[in-house]
Symmetry: C2
Subunit: 129 residues, 2 copies
């Protein structure tokens, strides 16, 4: 049904994944530099985390050269969906509609996003089927 299941990334791991999704294959140095644009993190901290993520299958690593290059193992969408499923269950007990209401009620959404959402809702409208 579905491919081999990976553990969900922790918050720290997710920070790194965001960088890899954004920048593509990167060295530890590159990832760490990006991290330090946001907050102070030691080089070996980033290295260690990437090694752990590799051992968990969250990233892949090209170690054919001395300087290793890391890459995300799963696409952003798939990971976000898995995280969302867990959060929806934990915080909203699965009530997706409640969550959307909370989101639309309290957050800025761009006009572009809103129109995509309207389109999606229109497609789901039973009157239109």
């Amino acid at each position: 049904m579905h491919s081999t299941t990976f553990p969900l990334p922790t918050d720290g791991e997710l920070e790194i994944l965001q960088i890899l999704w954004d920048k593509g294959p990167s060295t530890v140095r590159a990832v760490n530099d990006e991290m330090n644009k946001l907050r102070a993190v030691g080089y070996t901290t980033t290295l260690k985390l990437l090694q752990i993520m590799d051992s968990k299958g969250l990233v892949s690593r090209d170690s054919s050269q001395k300087i290793h290059v890391y890459m995300y193992a799963l696409p952003q969408e798939q990971t976000r969906k898995a995280l969302l499923d867990r959060f929806l269950e934990n915080a909203f007990q699965g009530a997706a509609g409640e969550m959307v209401l909370q989101l639309l009620g309290g957050h800025r959404t761009t006009e572009d996003e809103l129109s995509k959402i309207r389109q999606l809702l229109a497609d789901r409208d039973p009157k239109k089927q």
Copy 2:
């Protein structure tokens, strides 16, 4: 601007809050019984967690009687919103629209919820202003 800020509940604490939001003021025994409908948890585990939550201000406690009665400190909506904000930032880098799309795309939402959402979107439609 806003009242005193409390720490966000952990996942374990959230499980207990869900029970308190559902059942209202409850004894440790009552909370623990509810917990055990879902999974095996020792009585003192539930007790300890409630005591920690009290010390954090996440619940209030009536200890005027020997058998203490616990109650949530904040309404469900407020807590959910705070959790959602953090999650949205962590997992979706603040892109609320992306998150809604992911939700509507992949999850069952009831007709009732969908119509509430349509209403909310209609209210936001600039053409309707």
